[in-house]
């Protein structure tokens, strides 16, 4: 299993109130497969995503990604984990506004001290169809182009797992569809596992598995 989640709980404290964002959730994912996390706003999708990425720590339960048990890692080891094992695609793109497309994609390579980072970044940008836009700043790119840069950045280190949070949520349907095609194609070509947070049922159906959440609890789990 590339992802193993067991009895996962996450509580947030707001003043004197404890809010349980994730309640006793368990699931797993086979390597090379895709998983859709669905559910209404506030159901805990994004919290689970951040726990899978090691960006936050669970209150209780276990998370293992690519053979790494995240609960046991120090902050430094978590950074290393994120740098090497997972790639993240955000709904809001989150590109560095003062860096060009090429520089944005080069960031993970630089963090990992990968040699020849420029050529590797160029190759992946070419793969996402942005060969002609490499030296453009984010505000000179369209929404679809920005998301393609974000995907390229997530894939450039060939991680085991791609975590994508509503990657087409900020795009029109046609552009969104093209971006998702690209993401699925690249994941398949690279034999990568994909965890996708989405409201879009059509998109969820393209994944190998679907997990539905409501109020932090797992309500449905099915193979597509």
């Amino acid at each position: 299993m590339i992802i193993k989640v067991k009895n996962l709980c996450k509580d947030f404290v707001q003043g004197s109130t404890v809010i349980s964002a994730v309640k006793n959730v368990s699931f797993d994912l086979v390597e090379g497969k895709s998983l859709a996390l669905t559910g209404p706003s506030g159901s805990g999708k994004t919290t689970i995503m951040s726990l899978l990425a090691g960006l936050d720590s669970p209150t209780r339960g276990e998370v293992t990604v690519a053979g790494v048990a995240l609960a046991e890692l120090s902050e430094k080891e978590l950074s290393n984990f994120r740098a090497k094992k997972v790639g993240i695609v955000f709904q809001q793109f989150h590109l560095m506004p003062h860096l060009t497309a090429l520089e944005n994609v080069s960031l993970p390579l630089e963090i990992n001290s990968v040699k020849d980072s420029k050529n590797l970044a160029l190759k992946i940008l070419e793969a996402v169809g942005l060969k002609e836009r490499v030296n453009h700043l984010p505000n000179q790119l369209s929404g679809g182009e920005k998301q393609r840069v974000a995907i390229a950045r997530a894939l450039v280190l060939k991680p085991k797992v791609i975590l994508a949070d509503e990657p087409s949520g900020n795009l029109d349907s046609e552009t969104g569809e093209r971006v998702m095609d690209l993401l699925f194609d690249l994941a398949k070509a690279g034999d990568l596992s994909l965890v996708l947070v989405t409201h879009n049922s059509k998109l969820a159906k393209r994944c190998d598995r679907q997990i539905s959440l409501a109020s932090g609890s797992l309500t449905e789990q099915k193979e597509v």
Partner: protein, 845 residues
């Protein structure tokens, strides 16, 4: 009320921005408010003490006995009021206590009616109400130890012995209690017996008047009338207030420069505030677009934000006023000894008002160009907006036009604080040049390089891309470091010039009031003491009558009673002074001809030409005189003409006899004159022996101990230097507040970047180090360039203004660089700490 409520809520909702804005602006305003408070404290003190300081309401003074008709003007012009007069003569002279003890003193010979106001408290008097009469003297306390005398002992002044009758404990009219020449009071009638006053002797003859129930305006009006009525420019006419203001002249000039230094602090704060407001408006673009889409008119939006800025400016002013309450007494402590009276510290409402006006309107002026561009926001952006859209490009013409009020305010404050159009303009242009240079350098030097660790490379890339942040931080630190180094560098150069061990030409004594018939005796005494007499120079008292045939009149500006600029004051001073002419065949080592030929030799009366004149170059410039001008002087009632053939620079710190106006030899040889000279002698015993020998034989010759003068000068310079350094420190503090504001706001704005880097796996240390590198590099380069510019400026000022040999002192630059770098790292870390701790999960929200 509604508007106020919204402003209050807006401030509360943007606490971080508002705190930084207020902190930055209030620190900048503090210097300005403190200097104004300090000035008004001095002004108020003068107001309350000026009658005591002069001892009278009104006075006349000249380097010659005042004529009856000159004094009678006062009695003629003052109607229906009682006028009382008392006379006083002041001069420097040697006083001798025993065979071994003698020294230069300031003699103040007064009548019993002096002073009309205040009193001279004297200890040791058997009868407390005893008047100063006969051959008695009241001495300032330092003389008791310096001459090893006690009450009842005898001291010799000129040719007469005086009994030390009492010690002056509190002298309301003390003036500067100079360490060079402490004061002795004697009776005016007794002065004659000393035979100190001879033809050409340097002595100030004054008549002081008490005018019953005269108001300030009446005294001012009387000053104008009397000044106008007295023909001679030599006679000084003053009210008690004007006389006291002149006593505080040194501190007034120091205040000019302190004011300018505080203006630099304000400018830095303005930069910081501008940056913060720019970032704030960038964040508020959506909000204003939403409000406009809901029907808010651009005018209302403009007024809302204008009021908010106004409120922040006022809050800053209140904080600055509170801080200035702490600073004003510190400044007072730093300049203690430069003023002849104790300052009563209090900050007037008008000082608070100044802070409020500059704070509130200054903030508006600073932010006006931003606000105008900000309100170009169209609600339509809400429909097309993209997450990383920035504010629209600025309208350059509008920006320039709306920047003008801030520029005018700055120029106005420069001129107002320096009391000089020239200095104000020079300061504004100089500061603008430094800013342009530093900005240019910041753009030029920060490039992306492929070397170094990840943090360093990212830091360099950020510096290159975020040019606004880089430039503002760079300029703030650069200017602070520049100021911090400039003042000590100049101070050290001058100190070194004064104290240089290789100054073999420096005399031991500077002597004046040497009568013509005493020259040979003096030479013999000096020779017998194995000392070296140098530069025996004649001094001929004269008055400039005309230039190229046109009368050289007294300036009329004084009549207006208006505040004069420093240039006007200086011109007035030069115009209304008597001249000491001299002649010599060759230049002294301390002189250099700037323009024109050297003297052609001894003047030949039969040649038909006019005697040649050499003018000191700056003096000529101030009076508007040039080569070729024919000057007509009045010497001892007779006219005497000469023609300027050259201008020369004089190194005044040489302590050699030098003159503004010098004739070629042969022209003035027969004119009535006294002499000045210097003498050099090695060793303390030989020095005392020489001094005692001269005092014994030639008691009217005054001898200034050059070493003592230099020490006093150094003390004064050090005190002024400390005050200036204190204000420079304020600049560097403001620089760091700006840096903190920028780093803090920058990091807060970049929390998404930080989160993103974390999500990409960048270790915490790499992200932290990126910020530290970024501001460390800015600080390092700003320090290096700030120090370099300060060295260059100190070189130019030392060589061209003070005409001294520039020397480099590396201690201060090194200390300031190391200190600034260390502080930068601390300030940056504190500023970005919160952002670095941001949880990456926020990226998903």
């Amino acid at each position: 009320m509604g508007l106020l409520k919204y402003i209050f809520r807006e401030i509360l909702n943007n606490r971080r921005f508002c705190t930084l804005f207020v902190l930055s602006l209030s620190m900048g305003l503090t210097g300005l408010v403190a200097i104004d408070g300090f000035k008004s404290s001095i002004g108020k003190t003068i107001d309350s003490k000026s009658k005591n300081l002069l001892g009278a309401d009104f006075g006349l003074s000249a380097r010659r006995p005042l004529l009856d008709e000159e004094k009678n003007f006062i009695f003629d012009f003052v109607k229906n009021k009682q006028v009382y007069e008392t006379k006083m003569i002041e001069l420097f002279s040697m006083v001798k206590a025993s065979e071994e003890k003698s020294r230069l003193v300031q003699i103040r010979a007064v009548e019993n009616s002096y002073p009309f106001y205040g009193k001279i408290s004297v200890s040791g008097l058997q009868n407390k109400n005893k008047k100063l009469s006969g051959q008695n003297a009241w001495v300032h306390p330092e003389l008791i130890s310096q001459l090893s005398v006690e009450i009842g002992d005898s001291v010799k002044i000129g040719k007469t012995n005086f009994k030390v009758q009492g010690v002056v404990e509190n002298d309301a009219a003390s003036g500067f209690s100079s360490a060079i020449a402490p004061r002795i009071y004697i009776n005016l009638q007794a002065l004659e017996k000393t035979e100190l006053i001879k033809a050409g002797s340097i002595a100030w003859h004054s008549s002081l008047f008490k005018i019953e129930q005269a108001s300030e305006s009446e005294l001012d009006a009387l000053q104008v009338k009397v000044f106008d009525a007295i023909d001679s420019p030599e006679v000084k006419v003053f009210t008690h207030k004007k006389a006291s203001e002149q006593l505080a002249g040194l501190v007034a000039r120091l205040n000019d420069f302190l004011g300018l230094t505080s203006l630099v602090a304000l400018f830095l704060a303005a930069i910081g505030s501008f940056f913060l407001m720019r970032s704030y408006f960038a964040l508020k673009t959506d909000q204003v677009a939403i409000l406009m889409s809901l029907g808010l008119s651009p005018l209302k939006a403009f007024l809302f934000y204008l009021s908010q800025i106004f409120a922040l400016g006022l809050i800053s002013a209140v904080l600055a006023s509170l801080l200035s309450l702490l600073i004003v007494p510190v400044l007072g402590g730093l300049v203690k000894g430069l003023l002849p009276f104790e300052i009563n510290f209090f900050i007037e409402p008008k000082t608070f008002l100044l802070g409020g006006v500059v704070g509130a309107f200054g903030s508006i002026f600073i932010c006006l160009p931003l606000l105008v561009n900000f309100l170009k926001t169209k609600p339509a952006r809400l429909l097309t907006k993209q997450t990383d859209e920035k504010m629209k490009p600025v309208d350059l013409i509008k920006t320039v036009i709306f920047s003008l009020p801030a520029l005018f305010l700055f120029v106005y404050l420069s001129v107002e604080l320096s009391n000089s159009y020239q200095v104000g303009a020079f300061f504004t242009i100089g500061l603008a040049a430094v800013i342009v240079l530093l900005t240019f350098l910041s753009v030029l030097i920060f490039r992306s390089f492929g070397f170094g660790g990840l943090s360093l490379r990212w830091a360099l890339r950020d510096l290159n891309r975020n040019k606004t942040v880089t430039s503002i931080s760079f300029v703030s630190i650069g200017i602070g470091v520049l100021l911090l180094n400039l003042i000590p560098q100049i101070q050290k150069t001058i100190e070194s010039d004064l104290m240089a061990p290789d100054r073999s030409n420096l005399p031991t004594f500077f002597m004046f009031d040497i009568q013509e018939e005493q020259v040979e005796d003096l030479k013999k005494i000096v020779s017998s003491q194995k000392a070296e007499l140098k530069n025996m120079s004649p001094a001929i008292r004269a008055r400039l009558m005309s230039v190229n045939g046109e009368g050289f009149s007294k300036s009329l500006d004084v009549k207006s009673g208006a505040n004069l600029s420093r240039e006007q004051e200086r011109e007035l001073r030069f115009r209304n002074r008597g001249f000491n002419l001299s002649y010599r065949a060759e230049l002294d080592e301390s002189e250099t001809i700037m323009n024109g030929p050297a003297f052609s030799g001894v003047f030949d009366e039969e040649s038909g030409g006019l005697p040649e004149i050499s003018m000191e170059s700056r003096f000529a410039k101030r009076l508007g005189l040039k080569i070729g001008d024919v000057l007509e002087f009045e010497i001892d009632g007779l006219p005497f003409k000469g023609k300027i053939i050259n201008t020369r620079s004089v190194k005044w710190s040489s302590f050699q006899p030098n003159f503004f106006v010098q004739f070629q030899p042969g022209a003035l040889d027969l004119a009535p004159k006294t002499f000045v000279a210097t003498v050099k002698v090695e060793g303390m015993n030989a020095k005392l022996n020489l001094q005692n020998a001269i005092v014994e034989k030639l008691p009217n010759v005054s001898m200034v101990d050059v070493t003592r003068v230099m020490k006093r000068l150094l003390i004064i310079m050090k005190q002024m230097g400390w005050a200036l350094k204190f204000m420079s420190l304020l600049c560097i503090i403001v620089g760091f507040v700006v840096l903190y504001s920028i780093a803090s706001h920058q990091s807060s704005q970049r929390k998404w970047d930080v989160g993103l880097l974390k999500s990409l796996g960048a270790p915490f240390s790499v992200i932290r180090d990126q910020f530290l590198w970024q501001f460390f590099l800015i600080s390092l380069c700003a320090c290096v360039f700030g120090v370099s510019i300060s060295l260059a400026a100190s070189y130019l000022i030392s060589v061209y203004f003070f005409q001294t040999t520039w020397q480099i002192y590396l201690t201060m630059p090194l200390l300031s660089i190391l200190g600034t770098l260390a502080l930068t790292l601390v300030v940056t870390y504190l500023a970005v700490k919160k952002t670095l701790a941001t949880k990456t999960i926020d990226l998903f929200l």
